[in-house]
Amino acid sequence: MSDVTIRDLTIEYSSGGYAVRPFDRFSLELRSGELVVLLGASGCGKTTLLSVLASLLTPTSGSVRVDDTEVTTLSGTALTEYRRRGVGVVFQGFNLIPSLTAAENIEIPMRVAGVSRSAAQARATELLVALDLADRSTHRPRQLSGGQQQRVAIARALAMDPPLIVADEPTASLDYLQAEGVITRLRLLAAPGRIVIIATHDERLLPLADRVVELTPRISPYDRPPERNTLDPGEYLFHQGDQGQLVYEVDEGVIEIVRHRMDGSEELLQVLEPGGYFGELSPMFGLPRAASARARETTVVTGYNLRDFRHRRGADLHTKDGALDN
């Protein structure tokens, strides 16, 4: 039995000095035997989440439990043991060690874990046969096709038979023929006692998934009615990192657009007075808000969905000077 439980996961890091928070109190429960696809656009935090699950990155706060192991607080020997036996990782771009043969790439995780040479060789051979790579065992990565390299990477992840496999864009570098072989094998890995989590934006993987977790919510930017908001001085309309659905116009008062830095300070990007608008990029491109909007005084704003806003503003939307990246 292996379950993965993510509770209130918050990850914040610095990007160019500004605070980026791809996950804010994110929660998820996965059950043994599931193949879960994390779907989302580039930059939405898929790889970051996999890094936390593989215990390669410590989140800002929150809990990640794999069975009874709290992954976020591991250190020292326990951390090493988790990476050896608790999780197998299939990296984007294969990331095999170029100087080692296919078999050695699979053997190394076992040998650093103290498995005997003969046992490691036997296990590597078993995995190579299972992945139709028996005749490629002595080949170096550059002598293998992309699909073969990815299958070796899968074998490496399986070497210690971990209960959790995480795969980052496993089909990104493959043509459709090679991708098919990899997808099929990933599907077979998800069996009782093991969870397979695949981060991808390749929708070919969706039919195979037991669950799809969309990290970029698919919200229609066209179906919300206008919203009128009255803000007190200092009150935030939205925060940097929030998902955005509406474009706002200032009816009364003053709105400040500010970007928060990692050191806790903030940078004032723009001040908007009645007639000004802001927040159009987030609903247009499905990106999180790149800055926060805050009332400087008692302020009234109205939020419009993209269709209504275009209707109100027409070509103005495309010719706005200094359009905000929020």
Binding site: A54, G93, L100, P109, V112, A119, R156
Partner: protein
């Protein structure tokens, strides 16, 4: 199979993968090591010279003018008759005068040479390997460093001499060749023919010394002679140290470059549970192997290089052991920067594309 063998596999496979670069690095490091070994061989030879020269007289005691410690480094003279007085002193078996001087050999290979006037006797004085010992004024036996044969003449600032014998080695004062003459010949050459000597080589132990003289030992005489090359050997030591540093730089640069290129590999290894010791061990194996192979190759290289050296190069088993030990130390030190970089690699980098 334990993690130690994984360390070996990772390190050796990477060397194999980058074999061309490895061979170039070994070649360059071996050449630098070879230069270091050769100049160290020169130093060993220079340090060896005084003891050989002084020891060739088979004296038990040297008698020199009071206030001096060696006949080889002094211009203070004694009357030649002191040798006769000593020979008659109880406890003395033989007392043979020596005249020490310097002159310049003329000709295309103009160079300074040592001059030793001595009394040839069986078991005392330089070993003649061709011809015979000088018997009369105007005859010389010549040590290594002068390109002459028996029967040739040697033109010097002290006159022309006929070569009657060749002596093996016997260079001192930083490898200067030596002309051996009779005492009378040397007195004519450097003392205007006066019956003076710089010291007396005594076998036995005199119970009394002539007035105005003092006795000194072989080791004191040799140590005194070694003082003349003290700065030269210090310079050689410094150049040798620089050579080790350069070799370490070559090995360090190659190992560091490898560490930079393998950043993703280290991240993948860490992500799959490899400890720092596995990564450090792999780099150490590479660096040590490179240094040890280069240091072993440096010995035959030094043997070749010595043919281009104007001074004799003395190599011994000690030289090989020393270069191996230095190679190991250089290998460890050279890998420090690469190790520092490798252990700091963030395993999350493994998620990036190669």
């Amino acid at each position: 199979m334990s993690s130690e063998s994984a360390t070996l596999v990772i390190g050796l496979r990477d060397l194999q993968y980058r074999s061309r670069r490895f061979l170039v690095a070994v070649g360059v490091a071996a050449l630098v090591f070879g230069v270091a070994v050769a100049i160290d061989g020169i130093k060993r030879n220079l340090q060896n010279e005084p003891g050989l020269v002084v020891g060739s007289f088979n004296a038990d005691t040297w008698v020199v003018r009071a206030g001096n410690s060696s006949p080889f480094t002094t211009t203070a003279v004694l009357p030649e008759s002191v040798a006769g007085e000593l020979a008659a002193t109880p406890g003395v078996r033989t007392a043979r005068p020596v005249v020490i001087g310097r002159l310049t050999v003329e000709g295309s290979g103009r160079q300074n040479a040592n001059l030793i006037g001595y009394v040839p006797a069986v078991g005392a004085g330089p070993k003649i390997v061709a011809g015979r010992a000088p018997r009369r004024v105007g005859e010389v036996a010549v040590g290594g460093g002068l390109d002459v044969e028996v029967g040739n003449d040697v033109q010097t600032t002290a006159g022309r001499f006929r070569v009657v014998g060749l002596v093996q080695g016997e260079r001192y004062n930083a490898g200067a060749p030596t002309l051996f003459m009779t005492v009378a010949g040397a007195q004519q050459a450097v003392l205007g023919g006066r019956p003076l000597v710089m010291g007396v080589a005594v076998t036995g132990h005199p119970t009394a010394l002539p007035a105005g003289t003092t006795a000194t030992t072989n080791s004191v005489a040799a140590a005194d002679l070694a003082l003349t090359i003290k700065n030269a050997t210090r310079t050689i030591d410094f150049v040798a140290l620089l050579s080790w540093v350069i070799a370490a730089g070559v090995i360090g640069a190659i190992t560091y470059l490898s560490a930079i290129e393998r950043t993703r590999d280290f991240a993948v290894l860490r992500a799959t549970g490899a400890t720092s010791s596995v990564i450090v061990g792999g780099l150490l194996v590479q660096s040590l192997l490179l240094a040890v192979i280069a240091s072993l190759l440096s010995v035959p290289l030094a043997l070749v290089l010595r043919y281009g050296m104007p001074l004799p190069v003395k190599l011994s088993a000690g030289s090989v052991v020393q270069i191996l030990l230095v190679g190991i130390v250089v290998g460890v030190l050279a890998s420090a920067a690469a190790i520092r970089r490798a252990v700091r690699v963030d395993p999350a980098l493994a998620f990036g594309e190669r």
